[in-house]
């Protein structure tokens, strides 16, 4: 029973982590390797507003979301736009920014055990004989809420539809008057905000440490590769696969093998089905 419940919780956590990365890649084909650092940065910004400046929790979160959104936009507007279309350069440029943010934080003194975000609500409930704290339950519901929200946004709003058009055929979108640079900025803002939101939802479960940025990036990439790059449905499915695999490893092998599962999943996917679970269309294209 605890495997099922913690498997679901872990899977939703993975999906929340990966969503921002999958979204940006799906829309503008930019692999945003600064994803993990935005996740951690959001934690520290919220912490600063909350602890140092004494803002209420709610407003700290709102301000943090706005700040990471702006960071995402600036990252695209001033750095990624110059290397657009060159996959390797995009990776190097965004990873360099990510490294600068993470190591800058470390250099700036944000290390040690004293950085924690409070949970949204204290307490726990027993589900099927397994105690689960409120923070994890809130996280699962928030995750589901984010998915539904994104689905509505991308299917029923003008900007969301334009984003999906661009994700499928950038040049055809251009012919219909959709500005591809503007849409790429929008996708980066959304991606950064999702990374930030993931941080705010997940970081209260432990300490805010710089190293989490690297782990989150690897996990997000693992989920996206297993699910098929650019496929959002695939990303969710892969999050559940890897999430349950991780929990099973923790229960039967030991928790220090957790990261191995994610990396192994990347390797196995690349060997067995390079286009990922849901990369059907792309697989066809590869064959042609």
């Amino acid at each position: 029973m605890d495997i099922i419940i913690y498997g679901i919780i872990n899977s939703v956590a993975l999906a929340i982590m990966a969503l921002g990365f999958a979204l940006v890649y799906g829309i503008s084909r930019v692999p945003n390797f600064a994803h993990g650092s935005i996740y951690v940065l959001a934690g520290f910004i919220t912490w600063s507003f909350l602890r140092t400046l004494g803002f209420p929790y709610f407003w700290s979160v709102i301000i943090t979301m706005l700040i990471v959104g702006v960071i995402g936009a600036l990252l695209y507007r001033f750095i990624l736009i110059r290397v657009r279309g060159m996959a390797i350069s995009e990776i190097i440029a965004s990873y360099a920014v990510g490294l600068a943010i993470l190591e800058g934080l470390r250099w700036g003194g944000f290390r040690g055990m004293s950085y924690t975000l409070p949970v949204f609500a204290e307490g726990s409930v027993i589900i099927g004989g397994v105690p689960v704290d409120f923070q994890r339950i809130i996280m699962v519901f928030a995750g589901v809420g984010i998915f539904i929200g994104l689905y509505i946004f991308t299917h029923y709003t003008r900007i969301g539809l334009a984003l999906r058009g661009m994700a499928q055929d950038e040049r055809a979108a251009l012919m219909l008057g959709i500005d591809s640079d503007l849409m790429a900025v929008v996708s980066m803002i959304l991606g950064a905000m999702l990374a930030g939101l993931a941080g705010i939802l997940l970081l209260p479960l432990g300490n805010i440490v710089v190293e989490a940025g690297y782990n989150v990036l690897i996990l997000a990439i693992a989920v996206c590769i297993v699910g098929g790059l650019g496929s959002w449905a695939g990303a969710v499915l892969a999050a559940f696969l890897i999430g349950f695999a991780q929990i099973l490893t923790v229960v039967y092998l030991g928790s220090h093998y957790q990261m191995v599962v994610a990396l192994l999943a990347i390797i196995l996917t690349l060997i067995l089905k390079p286009s990922g679970l849901f990369g059907m269309q792309k697989q066809l294209e590869e064959r042609v």
Binding site: V83, R84, G85, M86, H155, R158, L161, A162, R164, G165, Q168, D169, R171, A172, A173, L174, M175, L176, G177, I178, D179, S180, L182, Q281
Partner: protein
């Protein structure tokens, strides 16, 4: 409406368009005919500004150096420097060769993505119009774009372009690879669109015969050069043109 003077496009040193003059008056259907690689698509990309995007992407990837020269006047204004999205906003909409519909979206979604530039009222009015123009699409509303036949895809592509509220619609080889019956339907609809929506159209084709009855004026491209122009009767009177583009002797 649109006037292009001395258009020259180079891919590296290869001349794709050589000093092309083209004009299209208000509510006129202009045909551009030419064989494969005569420069029809290059011309359409240049007019719609997509060439600007292609040029940038090539430069970024270190590919071909593309040079575009000449002036394009649209509604009395020089638009050669405008971004493609700006030109679309001004009303120049390209319905591209090979259709390029959004393959993972349904018919309805394709149309709604096409409605990016229109207001909610315009969008719902145009959707109704597209379904009245192409009743076949109405029953396929939920069908995924990639599962449509070639003719259905072409109807969808034209409908999607109409959703962007064009004033000048560029149709790049709309009849490519379609059955004669579908070709006839599309040619008829093209004229209906001009008459009912009061817009101008530029249509390119390899084979002039199916399109000729509806064009007001036509240009013939050969190796990137506009070798001949004239109205329907003038072109039909030219024996070389008759043999090469209409298949009659």
């Amino acid at each position: 409406m649109l006037e292009a003077n001395g258009l020259m496009v180079f891919y590296e040193n290869m001349l794709a368009l050589n000093n092309v003059h083209l004009r299209c008056k208000k509510e006129e259907i202009v045909g551009v005919f030419g064989a494969n690689s005569a420069g029809k698509s290059t011309l359409m990309y240049t007019l719609s500004g997509i060439m600007d995007d292609i040029r940038k992407k090539e430069a970024m990837a270190g590919g071909e150096r593309i040079t575009v020269l000449g002036e394009i006047k649209y509604l009395g204004r020089e638009i050669g420097a405008l971004k493609p999205s700006k030109r679309a906003r001004e009303g120049i909409i390209l319905c591209p060769e090979r259709r390029r519909i959004f393959r993972e979206s349904s018919v309805m979604e394709n149309l709604r993505i096409g409605g990016y530039l229109s207001t909610a009222a315009q969008a719902s009015e145009t959707i109704d119009y597209v379904f009245s123009l192409f009743p076949a699409l109405k029953n396929l509303r939920k069908r995924i774009g990639g599962f449509l036949s070639g003719g259905e895809q072409q109807m969808l592509a034209i409908g999607r372009a109409l959703m962007a509220q064009p004033k000048l619609l560029l149709l790049d080889e709309p009849l490519l690879g379609l059955s004669p019956l579908m070709q006839a339907t599309l040619v008829r609809s093209t004229r209906v669109i001009r008459d009912q929506r009061k817009i101008s159209l530029i249509v390119t084709e390899q084979y002039a015969r199916p399109v000729l009855p509806i064009v007001d004026y036509a240009f013939i491209l050969e190796n990137g050069t506009a070798v001949l122009e004239g109205n329907r009767e003038e072109l039909m009177g030219n024996p070389d043109v008759r043999a090469a583009y209409f298949g009659v002797n």
